[in-house]
Symmetry: C2
Subunit: 441 residues, 2 copies
């Protein structure tokens, strides 16, 4: 999958793309947007690709006759208000679309002139477009594959065996809530719920007192499998569309009280924020690396989770950051403050292993389904991807450059995630930001 | 809501309805079916109502001009391949539809003659129609409100405090899997997965060795709320469409190994069977009763779960049965064997409490969402609604009339659920059966 669309010498006639931190010509992520001047966003939402600070309009480009063959099929499927139909097509049409858009937007493509002539109709300024959750998500599974996060959380339950007996065999996950997914930029309202602090005799209902973010990578899926027919790990790649962010906002006090014995529920379901752009597997191909070697003594994954090719190239080398911007910092014009740095190499399981596990019992994945990786924390405090870890569940205060201190999120605080995939000889790409600001209960 | 549609003296000109165990004139449950002679079931699926051993075709009746006003709006919304649009309308149009269909199908209705003349076009033999899951389920929440089941399960974890500290405060629930819902009559394939029995050193991947059914009541929901705006318990009724069954098939060995710390996942997601008919809140109105008095010492529900009207009339008196039919019994022409008898009065929480809890953090319910109550077991072994309870997790064998014995389900076994709502002075109604036969892995 490493081809001319990764050539670092190619540049775009869309000037802002060249050197863009997230969206150079070599990225071309997929999303759903409403063009400017539109009073009914849903009615006119359509698929697009980010290029620099512009959005390339797939519906308009299709109407202008810029696509042919499989790319045309893909552009048609991406012209509606969600990308589910595109995701149902599998990888070949998506790859063809990427190639033709690359050719249209490159300075030296075979169809560059055609596209440049139509620029006014097929390119929109991103900052005046409204982004949407890119697909209708039928099922949202949240994994727990960030081993340092799992260790940090487990230590509170069982200091001697924080991961428990199953962690290194089972890609642990739970069903999460799809209805309350929202897109980056929408406020997240502080939830109310039942909370009981250890020192209290009985629970009360009221606003969450331990509101947290969780830095996770989102995995968008399709076409998926028929019920009863597992996806073998060697075929998982065909069902993975691309990556983005999910902020798995967590109300720790609600979660801690409710979770026995069936797991997290209302502590998570009040809202989860996804970043609007899906960075495709094609764009990420140069950043694939070997699955990090398991520590000596760790069990070999069971056969249904084992694939030589996946071991050699199934992981990703993507650097991640979580930042916080408070109301006070915003007013003072200060930049967001980085709370942690971690990366996708801190995941214990590959995405192919997640797909194989999710379906190994015959459970069916549908186009547009979403996985979260689980919070991705690094091995040391600099890498801890949630405030629960950074504050040791509220015991330790974190000082910000504004002089403020935080255990958990206050109203007005904004959580911001950033990603960067880099490799010598290639153009770096990112996911675009995932942002969400806490609104009062 | 108790009106002429509950009058026990009214009968139908559809002869099989009168005295029908499940579907007399006074029930009229909603479902989605494909009429006979249809080679492409999905393309022609439409809403209908069960009446005796027939299905009343809402799309055909609409086309024949049999409806007016709000009932016409409801019939239009029910004419497609799922009931989501009808569920989005709320209770008034659904109630109007019920009244007009009652009038059409009663022997002495004002429009009886019109309907009888069209009988060939608007009634189908149920046994030649293909039923479907009645709605596209976006989110499926499974509660844990059967207190005897929760106690039986908890006893294995903690004999001294089987329910744990939160059970009597929190309507405990988890997100379950919507993609693998199937309708009564479809086979359920024995799932494979990671299992580790306590006596084994390491897990293996293979077919489930502890396959179980769970007797649950299904709750169909709509229209639902906007994200961030909880549904107050006093308004919950408007969002409850009706009831049916869900068999929450469970792979106990997979579940036991995977569930720490995030709860059940693949042990449940391989498939859940729903009964095809939604028995509406209107049909169930005569069978509403007071919420059973909590034992002395139990806490009063928190305010957001407390509503006087709900306490007085929020529960249902519906008798439930779980039966098993093995391959050998089937071959010998033996009837299914009843494994347990319980009822909806064995639920610790009302449905309105479930709706209020689900949304109390701002989580949004969408039209067509599904709740399961959790397994409904009675207080004694005669009432235990799963084989895990009846066999004490496989320790105790249950003898069947065929001479066979069972701890968990064998291939070819069929689990069958039946319900009956009865009250002096009213015509009894049922849900129709929920059946699923185990196919080999």
């Amino acid at each position: 999958m490493i081809d001319e669309t990764h050539d670092p010498k190619r540049v775009s006639w869309v000037a802002s793309a060249n050197g863009h931190v997230d969206f150079p010509l070599q990225n071309l992520p997929l999303g759903v947007f409403s063009p400017p001047g539109n009073n009914v966003p849903d009615a006119k939402a359509r698929g697009g690709m980010a290029i620099g600070d512009k959005i390339f309009d797939l519906k308009a480009a299709l109407a202008a006759g810029l696509f042919s063959g499989e790319a045309e099929t893909a552009a048609k499927a991406a012209s509606g208000g969600s990308l589910n139909r595109l995701m149902a097509l599998g990888s070949a049409p998506r790859r063809a679309l990427r190639r033709q858009v690359f050719d249209l937007l490159a300075s030296d493509g075979t169809n560059t002139a055609k596209a440049r002539n139509l620029a006014g109709g097929i390119l929109h300024d991103a900052n005046v477009c409204a982004m949407q959750v890119p697909a209708q998500v039928a099922s949202f599974t949240d994994f727990f594959a960030g081993i340092h996060h799992a260790t940090n959380g487990g230590r509170r339950r069982n200091p001697n065996d924080p991961l428990g007996p199953n962690y290194k065999y089972v890609p642990v996950a739970y069903h999460s809530r799809a209805s309350s997914l929202q897109v980056s930029g929408q406020p997240i309202r502080r939830p109310s719920g039942q909370r009981k602090l250890p020192e209290e005799n009985a629970p009360t209902y009221g606003p969450c007192r331990k509101l947290d973010y969780e830095l996770e990578v989102a995995i968008w899926l399709g076409p998926g499998n028929r019920q009863g027919e597992p996806i073998p790990i060697a075929e998982a790649a065909e069902h993975i569309v691309g990556l983005g962010f999910v902020n798995d906002w967590s109300a720790r006090d609600i979660q801690q009280w409710e979770s026995a014995p069936l797991g997290p529920f209302l502590g998570k379901s009040f809202g989860s924020t996804v970043s609007p752009w899906i960075v495709t597997m094609e764009a990420l191909a140069p950043f694939r690396v070997a699955q990090p070697r398991r520590p000596a003594g760790d069990p070999r994954p069971l056969d249904y989770l084992w694939d030589e090719a996946d071991q050699r190239r199934g992981a990703f080398d993507i650097a991640l950051e979580a930042l916080v911007l408070t109301e006070k910092m915003r007013a003072a014009g200060q930049p967001p403050h980085r709370m942690s740095r971690s990366g996708t190499l801190d995941l214990y399981w590959t995405i192919a292993q997640m797909v194989a596990h999710q379906t190994c019992n015959g459970c069916n994945i549908e186009p547009g389904d979403l996985f979260g990786t689980g919070t991705i924390s690094g091995p040391t405090p600099e890498g801890w991807g949630s405030l629960s870890e950074l504050s040791q569940d509220g015991q330790k205060s974190n000082t910000l450059p504004s002089g403020e201190s935080r255990t958990f999120l206050e109203d007005g605080d904004e959580a911001i995630f950033r990603a960067r995939a880099s490799r010598a000889g290639y153009v770096s790409i990112g996911f675009g930001e995932c942002r969400g600001r806490v609104a009062a209960a």
